[in-house]
Structure formats: structure tokens, C-alpha cells
Symmetry: C2
Subunit: 608 residues, 2 copies
């Protein structure tokens, strides 16, 4: 039943050899890996204006130079990550770059920050998309959390079905969004060119503004640069590309950079020229669309597509998180299960973990994840800074041909990223401080996990340890609850193994029952030693454990192994289990974790 | 940690021999077994007036003859259950009486109705009590469900601590309630006697009323008789009494009947004489108290105590449900676990089941369980009718000395109970019809469970079956995941048992790994046969199951038993388990339930 539902939802399992078919071509990769970055043009420019509006509308023209600054940062990031892609063609991005060039802790910091960030990406963008939907249909508003969780489940199922399949479905809305934005920008620019937009709507560039401080400008710059989150996703996901993977990834990155630059500068310019002021009840993009087209069908289409892309931005997290988790798991910093490919060849444990974590975030914050955005932005610029510093160190150490230019690019990128990160910490400390606690915590936890895996490896490896003690003989203990076929079955099995000793144990709750059972047993199987234990507190496990303890103590002296054989009858139907005390299950769980003894379950299958 | 919390909440475990000390004396028994019945005087009289008010205030005097009718019914029930107590001193009440005299199905119907009823008692009375509390403190109103669930948990913990302990704590409020009601009635009657209450407030008895039908009178009678729910509780719980149990129980029943009769007639009379009309926003008892004392401290104390007794009415369910469940479980109609005594000698499984079920009801109905009341009343009068009809049949069959009077008492009781039940079905069908579906469903389910237990008994009993097939030899299959100490440990153990054959099985996901492993194995343990399986779909369980299947098939031909030995390393700390794929656990669960093979877990305990 369960497996049928699974098949319907995620499809038939794929053979391992089908892995190549699950790789992405450039068009699909661009769609699913850049939805996060591209969608941020829907809110990035607005972030700039929101800071400038605190001074007054006269300061709005500063959005243009700030926009130019962000384009430079974007260029630096794209060029830098392009170098990362070629230098580390197996993916891993900031994590691998930082680890190899700046040391393990820097790598873990970058990796941990990105892992958390992808969870935040999913929670924040799904919540934003849900808000857009329920703003259009206010009657749905009370179901915000439910809708958001439903969307997470939907995207999770798509991703569990496999990379190519989700890419095929998700590519349309992403390209539709790009197309819609281009139409908006082209029509807007055309109207400006033919003079349909009155020039008095905006202050000319260079108008002096009183009260503007460098601090505010930097804050506006930092806020706007939140549009660049998601740029690093491609460098984490290189193994998902078709061969030649690094080349395809680099081209995809360049295409994404170009698209992002065009859309971003278009929106910033239109907002400036139309003299648009940020409003609480209407987004900047909506204002631009409304001024350009009026409130006609095209306007509503653009609004709808924008809402959709916000939801799909979550998908970037679904592509990058599992891949990053694999890299961390291969280095044994997180649980090994993240390296296992699921039925459809995706890293399904990573996908499921991401889904559960983001649903929890959505539920805990009741769908109001907006104030997680600064945390999220800081979480992106920490790995940006680390990755580019790492590349800088790499070029300085290796000095390949043309290392000067490469080093300059990464140095500029590192400097700007670091500046943005510091601005975030200085200007938004009240929202950002948790990062200072949980990031070191995560790194600490990574080390704990790593130590455990190393310890286990040491203890299991054959070459490093002394030869194991041979087993000289066996003692078998059989807890019995009555004189039944289940017990008979177990006794037969035990005898067939010819152990040195077989002991049956009976736990009695009443003195009378104890005597009675002894008599019946001696008639039934006098050749097998019976030990009866009296339990004052009606517990089976306590006296049994104590007894087995004694037996084991004695057995160890002569290198004997103690095996507890548990007679268990298996009912025909699952629900019947509820009708029987699960003593055998409890006994097994208890003994196995507490003592160094072997536990055997001897089943007796009921036929009706 | 968990066990520490358990100790704090419910106390140290008690020895089985302490059972006698956990029995109830009459005073305590009256308190905890009659809280349900006594608390119903807080709403019973109001139910009568609510029906009469549909005709007009002139009809209110009919509450007096209806009250007399209910007193007669009460007398019949008390006398009848008194006879039940002596005839069935081991408890079980309606279930046992009906089963023995009217057949199994009548017994199961009575038992099932009462089981459901006790769950409803808890849900309804806790919800009513919570309403009373949040009416006093309206700011708590949004937390109604939470408070109700908290109260259930509290009463559950008290009951898990043991009968005497909960009785000691709960006796005070019950007796306080009785005292408060007596003060109210005595002061009220005194004021009437000295002429402080103007006689024009009520119509004199016998005033002709137009529009009154027999149907309405019967409906008023039925509604008022909901005050009698809980009368049967004592007959179910006789084993909880100190010796001589039946005598003590009978005396307690008589005392409860007397108290209930006095309180009920007092409230009915005062309500009539004061001319009180039922209001939506104020209870009848509150109106009487307010008219008698004015709104002074005494008034608020009475209100507070009334709220408390509504909560405590739930406790009757906690005493009667587990005891009834034991009776049903001993006859194998419900799961055996209900017969197990917990650490404090109470039937803790019954107590916990009751708590979980009533919390679910409260959550599903969001604390508004009022409209479950008719269902609940019908659920009481079905066993009333069955029990008294059963007694009637018993007297007729056995004809002991004085059987004529006994038979008459039960016949009257049966007739009235049956009438009340039919009135409920006729006048409140829209609320009561679910009983017609779920009661037969429960009886059906009881039979299903009984059949299963009978089947199991047949299959396990040694005497009835053919001798079991002897085991001629053993084949041991060891799934191996690598060349480690864990595997070595398991191999040593397997060898020490000298089975006819040992086969190691390795599941490979890649062709290369398969070959490599074979080579390494043949260097390590060439004497042990290795079978490698290639898994295209990256599943371990499927190819393994298939292989084991083949092995088993062959083994069966020569009466060999197949044992799967699972090498498992046990990490030192519990959280480490999350870092390892739980393959061994899955393999075990899968094999044990599907195949007739023996599964042994060979643990290897890690030291760090």
C-alpha cells in the first residue's frame, strides 16, 4: 500500500546505470539553479529604495550608483565563481575552496553557513510566494501555513522524481518570468525614449541631498546586494551537469550573470525614472508594471508570474543542498546517509531533510519568515568571502600563468563581499546576531560527528587491532512464558546447535505459579535445566537482565558466548500485534544495547 | 532520565503483595466512585426545566412529579444494582450480568456501551468543568482545549499513582460539594419555612396547563434522568473495595443513592418554589444560590466547588473503565495488556488508554463536547436495561427464597430503563443515531479479537497438535558489508556453533566493487563461501531476500533450519545511531515478518 503510493508519487526506481540520463543540459540547469538569483530582482531594487526613503525622495537617484556598485559586485562574483568552477570541477563550491586553501574550519564554516542558508532559502521564498498568492485571494489567508507546507511537499515530490523531470517542469515558469521582465523593461524604456514619461517625476542624477551619510549608503548597498543570494548555487552543483560539466557550468553561470545584470539594472533604472517610492501595500515591480501597462491583463499576468517565481526560488535550495551535503558527508562531517542515492537517483535523504527542516521553520514562524532575510543574506556573504579569499590564497601559492589578473578579480570580490558582510553585521546586528552563535555551534557539531566516524573506523579496521578472542563454547538462555509450540520450536533449534548448555528461564509473578510451572516443566522437558525467577514488581526485564548478567559473568571466564534465544510467535495479520504484549521486542532491545550478548529471535509463524 | 520523570510523577513501584493496601474503604470509595452521579445534580434538574419551558412557566410545577418519577427510577436502580453486587461479588456489573443471563452478545453490548461511555464521561465532564473555569476567567477562554487536556493529564497522573492516593486527594472536593449543596438546600428550605420567599413566585401544584402532551412529559423525564448516569459505577468496581467487598460496596451504593436522592429532590423543590426559569447565561443552581444567599462570598464558594466537582466527575471513569476492561480482557474480548498491573498496582494500560481517547475526543471536538451528552445518556441506559433484564431472568431461573420481590424490583427497573432509553431514541434521534452504528461495530470487533485469541491458543497448545519437526541441521547466512572486526566477530560466533554450512553474502552496487571485494575476501577468509549479489536499484533488502529465499527452499528439503546472522556494531552513545544507516535493523524487521527463518543479531560494542 505504502509502496504503491510511493510509486505513484515519485515513479519507478531507476537503475544505477541510468545516472547519465539524469544530468542537466545548460537550458534546464539555468532554469533550476538560477531561479533563486533571478527571482531576487523582484525584491532587490526595493530593498535599496527602502533605505533611501528614510532620507527622502530626493535621495532616490542614489539607487543608480548603488545599482552600479551591485553590478560590479555581481561581476566580481561571477568571474570569481567561474574560476572556482574550473579550479574545482567536482563541485562543492565555497566549502571545498575554503577547506583546501584556508583550512578545515574555514571550509566547515562556509559549508555550514550554506547548508543553513539553503534551508532558509526554501522557507523564506515559499513563504513569500504564499503571501503573494493569498494577497490575490484574501479568503485563503487563514490557510497560509498550510498552503506553504503544501508547496514545500509539492516541490519535494518533484525533486524526488529526479533532476531532469523537475527541471522540465520548472523551466517554463522561470523562462516565462525572464520573458515577462524583459517585456516590462523594454516597453518601459520605449515609453521613456518616446517621451511618454514626464521627466519631472525624478530628481536628476547628482542632485545634492542633505543628511545622507556614508553609513546609510553602505546600508542601502548591503540591502540591495541581497539580490545576489543564489549566485553560488551553480558552483555547488557541478556534478549535476552533462559532460563537459565544468565548461557547461561556467557557461550557465555567465548566462545567469548576464540575465541577472540586465533585469536588475532595468528594474533599478525604471524605478528611478518613474520616481517610484516603496509602499507597504504594493511592491516596486507592481508599481512599475502598473505605470507601464496600466492595470490590464498584462499587469496581472506579470504579477502572477512573479508570485510563481518566488515559490520556485526554493528549488535552487533543492538542487544545491543535497549536493553540498554529499560533499560534507563524504568528508565524514555529517551523517553518511546523505550520500545514498534514492530510487530515482537523487540524493533523497538530503531532499527529505531539507523539506522537513523548512516545513518546521515555516510552522515555527507561522509563515512569517521575512525577518529571517538578513540572517539569510549574512549566511550567503560569509561563504562568498571565504571562497574568494581561498581562491586568492590559491593563486598566490600556485602562481599559474596569468595569476595576477585572477588574483585581482578574487581580491576585489573578497573585499566587496567582506565589506557587505561587515555592513550587515553593523547595520542589522539585532537580526543577525544568532549567526554568531549557531555557526560556531554547527562547526563544533561537524567535528563531533567527524570524530565519531574516525573512532568507528579505527575500531573496525582489521589491520590495526589485535586478533579477536576465539569462542570456545556457547551457553543458550531461553526465556519461556509457557509450555507451547513456540517454546518447543525454540528448544528444538537450540538443541540442533549443540551448545555447551541450555537454560530455560521463567519469570513468575506469584509464588504459586512458580511452583506449578516447575512441575509441569519437569514432566515436559526434564532434560533442560529450568530456572525460575520471582518478580515482586511484575517486571520481566529486570530479573531477566540480572540473571543473564550472572550467566555471562561465568561464561566469560571460559571464553563462552552467551546467546539469548527469544521464542516469538508472528501473527498472521499486522493488527494482531496490538493484541499481544510486545515482551520479546522489549527484551531484545534491552539486552542488545546493554550487554555483550547475542540475541536470536526464533519465530513461530501462526497460520490463522 | 525518562525513568526519573516517571518516578517523580507516579512514585516508586509497589510490590505485588501491597495490593491489599491499595483497596478502598467506604468513605474514599463513595468519594471517587460517586463523583459522576453526584455532580449530575448540578445539571439534572435544569434539564427537566429546559423541556418544560417550551410550554411555559405555568408547566414548571410538573418538575415536582417528574422529580418523584426520577426518584422512583433511582430507587429501582439502587435496589437492582444492590442485588447485582451481591449476586456478582467479583464485579463486572452490567457486562457480567448480561453475559451470564442474556448471552454473550448482550454482555458485549453492555460492556462496549459502558467502555465508550466512560470515555465520554471523561471528555464531557472535563470540558464542562473547563467551561466553568474559563467563564470565571474569560481571558483563559482561548486556551480551553489546552486547559482541558492539562486537567486530563493531571487526573491521569493521580490515578497512575494508585487508587488510595487519588482517593485521598479527591475525597475532599467531593464531600465539600455535598456539604455546600446541603447548606444551600437547608438555608433555602428554612427561608421558605419562615416565609421569606413570596409564594406567588410559583404556580401551585396541580394547576391545569394547556398544550402539555405525554410526549413532552416523557422527554422531560428522560432529560432529567441523565442525572442518574454513574449509578452503575460501583457495581463495576467491587474488586477495588476492602473486604468484605460486596457488603462494603452495597453500603456505599446505598449511601450514594441516599445522598443523590436528597440533593436532587432538594434542588428540584427549591427551583420549583423559587419559580426559577432556565437561562442560557446562568445555571439553575447558580440562580438558586443567588436567590438564597445573594451574591456574597458563600455564593462564589458554591460556584467554585460546583466547577470543581464537574472536573472530578471524570474520575469515576478512571475507576470504572480499567476494571471493566480487565473483565473484558480476561474473557479475551479486548487486548490482554489491559490485565497488566502497573508499577503502582493500578491497571495502568486502561488508565492511559482512557486518557488518550478522551484527549483525542476533546481535541477533535475542540472542547465543545456538550452535544455528546445525549449519546452518553443513551449509552448508560442500554446497559441499565440489559443488566436489570438479566437479573430478572436470573431470578426467574433460579427462584431463590423471596425471588418474587427481587424479580419485581428488577422488572420495574428494567421497564423504566427501557422506557427512558426508547424516549431518548425517539425524542433525540438526530444526536443519538451514531450509537446504532458504533455499538454493533464494537461488538463485532470484540468477536474478531476473541477469535484471534482462540486461534492463537489452539495453535500454541501442545496437547492438540502433532509433534514438531526435528531440526536436522543448520545453514547460516551472514550479510557482510566490509572486512571489519564486526564481521570477524560474527564469523567466529558462527563457526563456534558448527553449522552444516556458513555463507557470507555481499551486496554490491557497482560491478567493480563486487570483484574487488571477492578478491579481498578470498585472501581473508578463503574457507568461508562468499556469495556476491549485484543490486541495480541500490537496494540491499531485495536481492538479499531473494537469495535467502533460495537458500531456505533448498534447506527445507533436508529439514535444515536457516539462520541469518546480522553483524551489528553498537555505538557507545545513543545519538551516534543517527549517523549510521540502520540497515541491520531493516533487514531484521523484513526477514522476520516475511520468512520462516531465524534472525540473530551479533553485536559488537564500540568502546569509544
Amino acid at each position: 500500500m505504502l509502496s504503491f503510493i510511493k510509486r505513484v508519487l515519485i515513479g519507478q526506481p531507476l537503475k544505477s546505470t541510468a545516472l547519465g540520463e539524469q544530468k542537466l543540459n545548460k537550458t534546464k540547469a539555468l532554469a533550476i539553479l538560477s531561479s533563486d538569483a533571478l527571482s531576487s530582482v523582484a525584491y532587490g531594487p526595493e530593498q535599496i529604495l527602502l533605505v533611501l526613503v528614510t532620507i527622502g525622495a530626493a535621495a532616490f537617484w542614489y539607487s543608480v550608483p548603488i545599482g552600479v556598485g551591485i553590478l560590479i559586485l555581481l561581476l566580481a562574483l561571477v568571474l570569481s565563481y567561474r574560476q572556482v568552477i574550473y579550479a574545482y570541477p567536482h563541485g562543492g563550491g565555497a566549502y571545498v575552496v575554503s577547506k583546501e586553501n584556508l583550512g578545515v574550519n574555514a571550509g566547515l564554516l562556509a559549508g555550514g553557513a550554506l547548508l543553513v542558508d539553503y534551508i532558509l532559502t526554501v522557507a523564506v521564498s515559499i513563504s513569500a510566494g504564499t503571501d503573494a498568492i493569498t494577497s490575490a485571494f484574501p479568503s485563503l489567508h487563514p490557510y497560509n501555513v498550510l498552503i506553504a507546507c503544501g508547496l514545500v511537499v509539492l516541490i519535494t515530490i518533484l525533486n524526488l522524481r529526479g533532476l531532469t523531470e523537475s527541471a522540465s517542469i520548472l523551466a517554463y515558469p522561470v523562462y516565462l518570468f525572464v520573458l515577462a521582465m524583459f517585456i516590462l523593461i523594454v516597453v518601459g524604456l520605449y515609453q521613456i525614449a518616446v517621451g511618454h514619461v514626464p521627466p519631472h517625476l525624478h530628481e536628476p542624477l547628482g542632485t545634492p541631498v542633505s543628511g545622507l551619510t556614508l553609513f546609510l549608503l553602505l546600508k542601502a548597498f548591503a540591502s540591495g546586494s541581497s539580490a545576489l543570494t543564489g549566485v553560488e548555487a551553480i558552483s555547488n552543483a557541478i556534478p549535476n551537469f552533462k559532460d563537459p560539466a565544468p565548461k557547461n557550468a561556467a557557461k550557465t553561470l555567465a548566462a545567469m550573470g548576464l540575465l541577472l545584470a540586465l533585469l536588475f539594472s532595468g528594474i533599478v533604472w525604471l524605478a528611478y525614472y518613474y520616481g517610484i517610492s516603496p509602499k507597504a501595500e504594493e511592491t516596486v515591480v507592481s508599481q512599475i508594471a502598473s505605470a507601464t501597462f496600466g492595470r490590464n491583463l498584462l499587469y496581472y499576468v506579470i504579477q502572477g508570474i512573479t508570485a510563481m517565481i518566488l515559490v520556485l526560488a526554493a528549488n535552487t535550495g533543492y538542487s544545491a543542498f543535497p549536493q553540498l551535503a554529499v560533499n560534507l558527508a563524504k568528508d565524514k562531517y555529517i551523517a553518511r546517509m546523505f550520500t545514498v542515492r534514492g530510487d530515482r537517483l537523487g540524493y533523497s535523504n538530503g531532499i527529505l531533510f531539507l523539506a522537513v527542516a523548512s516545513i518546521l521553520l515555516i510552522i515555527v514562524f507561522k509563515g512569517r519568515t521575512e525577518h529571517l532575510i538578513p540572517l539569510y543574506a549574512v549566511g550567503v556573504f560569509i561563504p562568498f568571502t571565504l571562497a574568494q579569499t581561498g581562491m586568492l590564497v590559491k593563486w598566490f601559492r600556485e602562481r599559474p600563468p596569468g595569476w595576477g589578473i585572477k588574483l585581482t578579480i578574487n581580491a576585489v570580490g573578497a573585499l566587496i563581499s567582506f565589506t557587505v558582510m561587515m555592513i550587515f553585521f553593523i547595520t542589522k546586528f539585532p537580526q543577525v546576531w544568532p549567526a554568531l552563535i549557531f555557526l560556531p555551534g554547527i562547526v563544533f557539531f561537524f567535528h563531533k560527528i567527524n570524530k565519531h566516524y574516525m573512532d568507528v573506523g579505527d575500531q573496525l579496521r582489521i589491520t590495526t587491532c589485535e586478533p579477536s578472542v576465539p569462542v570456545e563454547g556457547n551457553v543458550m538462555v531461553i526465556p519461556v512464558a509457557g509450555i507451547t509450540h513456540v517454546v518447543e520450536n525454540t528448544l528444538n533449534y537450540a538443541k540442533s546447535l549443540h551448545p555447551e548448555q541450555i537454560i530455560a528461564v521463567y519469570v513468575a509473578f506469584e509464588k504459586e505459579a512458580e511452583k506449578q510451572f516447575e512441575e509441569r516443566w519437569n514432566q515436559w522437558h526434564p532434560e533442560i535445566r529450568l530456572v525460575t525467577l520471582f518478580s515482586q514488581y511484575r517486571s520481566i526485564i529486570q530479573p531477566l537482565t540480572k540473571f543473564v548478567d550472572t550467566v555471562e559473568h561465568k561464561a566469560m571466564e571460559s571464553n563462552y558466548k552467551v546467546t539469548v534465544l527469544i521464542p516469538q510467535f508472528i501473527p498472521k495479520k499486522r493488527w494482531h500485534n496490538a493484541l499481544h504484549n510486545q515482551s520479546s521486542f522489549l527484551i531484545r532491545a534491552f539486552l542488545l544495547y546493554r550487554r555483550d550478548l547475542i540475541v536470536t529471535t526464533v519465530p513461530y509463524h501462526l497460520k490463522k
